[in-house]
Symmetry: C2
Subunit: 264 residues, 2 copies
């Protein structure tokens, strides 16, 4: 499967916010932005006064298959034009100063965007140019600001990284994947009964081998073995393998060991 | 302030997980990974068998100031060597197959990593090479897998983007920034009393101007005005500005308008 094929299924998953890149400088970054948008289920891209014009081959090269996003992108002369048909606009802004506005984390913004989109309103996310970020006139077009909580000693984010964080939060805001799951392949997590069956086998062979011959210590040793096997989610298939290991070890104990080749 | 200065304060914020890049191909990506790590408060970087050797000037160019992370990075011959001193290892893995392991979202993994770190255990995050990702032998070194929930039609993530998502989640897992706040500059959100004071002024001038002269409609019109000004958090400074606007409009109403210059 080629990179181009990989992006062939990319399409709008609406409602989703428009990403507005304001005066972007590097075409490579525009391509990387498109890739990040595709990852997070965003599709609509608008470019305000891209420095080197549009379209750009260099953007295609970094988009890694997100061509449909770049092909559907529109170019605008001003921020006002780019947001004219939108109902709510959020501006990403690392260090807002002298501004009175609601300020959201990426996560907070994603939750609000989901809620706004569900009401049928069109929404946009403004990202500033690589070097300088949004200026005060750009920000005046926004209802709210977004600032990502990040390491205060190193806040400067690459443009595509900034879009990636927002795209991931947008996707997560309505994703229902369990935070922790157990993946199993052609098997299932063992029930306590299946585990008990294995422990009975293990302890019987331990008794037979003499490993548990110290009667006063035996209850504690059995408990330790139980604790170990109870610690994680063991699968039915793993128990079968362990049954096999125990049987084989116990069996080979009754057989004479093969002579070492070099003899003595 | 130069880019190099910007990263001068970068230092470990421990406990924090080690980022292990396995067979990374492009030095530019290693630099971008360092930048993303710095953004999210990660510092410890290990490289297993980097394709083009190490160090690399091209990594410095994309690190955007995160030089200290690159300078402290260590190179390892094998995954086993890179993780030997760690207690818990998580592997990022877009499409785990035929594997039985716990599977976490980036957010779920960040929460577990915080908990593990708080217990004084050392932890690592494995990221595979750009094109192929981690192979099954690499993954066998991990306790758990991490898979980001993302657009199933476009899952392929740039290496530095993958690190950025994890670094942002790591930072967010113990960040206390309110999801929504109101930023104010040399002012504060107005109290209901301050708002009432303004509304009294507004309504008095509306009465004086005759805007509310329709007695049956007056109560509804007053309520509409109240609803509008109650909708968001207005600041004390904005109320002072609005007081000024009302006073000025009411004052100029009593003055004769200046003659238009061209006369008639």
């Amino acid at each position: 499967m080629t990179a181009r094929d990989e992006g062939a299924d990319l399409r709008p998953i609406d409602p989703s916010p428009v990403v507005v890149l304001i005066r972007p400088q590097l075409a490579e970054n525009i391509g990387s932005v498109a890739r990040a948008m595709g990852n997070g289920g965003l599709f609509h891209l608008r470019l305000v006064a891209p420095r080197d014009g549009w379209p750009q081959d260099r953007a295609m090269r970094t988009a890694s298959g997100a061509y449909r996003i770049l092909e559907a992108a529109t170019v605008h002369e001003s921020v006002a034009d780019a947001v004219a048909d939108l109902h709510r606009v959020f501006a990403t802004c690392p260090r807002p100063r002298h501004i009175v506005k609601p300020l959201l984390t990426a996560r907070g913004a994603a939750a609000e965007l989901r809620e706004i989109g569900n009401r049928g309103l069109r929404m946009g996310l403004l990202f500033g140019p690589e070097r300088a970020g949004l200026d005060n006139d750009d920000i005046a077009h926004a209802d709210s600001l977004i600032r990502y909580p990040l390491n205060p000693d190193f806040m400067s984010l690459n443009l595509a990284q900034a879009v990636m964080v927002m795209a991931h939060e947008w996707w997560m805001a309505c994703d229902e994947t369990p935070a922790r799951d157990m993946i199993t392949h052609k098997t299932h997590v063992a029930t306590k009964g299946e585990l008990e069956n294995f422990l009975t086998h293990l302890i019987a062979e331990c008794d037979a081998s003499g490993f548990l011959r110290n009667a006063p210590k035996r209850p504690g040793m059995v408990r330790n073995l139980r604790h170990f096997f109870q610690r994680g989610e063991v699968t039915e298939q793993e128990l079968r393998t362990l049954h096999g290991v125990i049987t084989e070890l116990a069996h080979s104990r009754h057989q004479p060991s093969p002579e070492p080749e070099h003899g003595e």
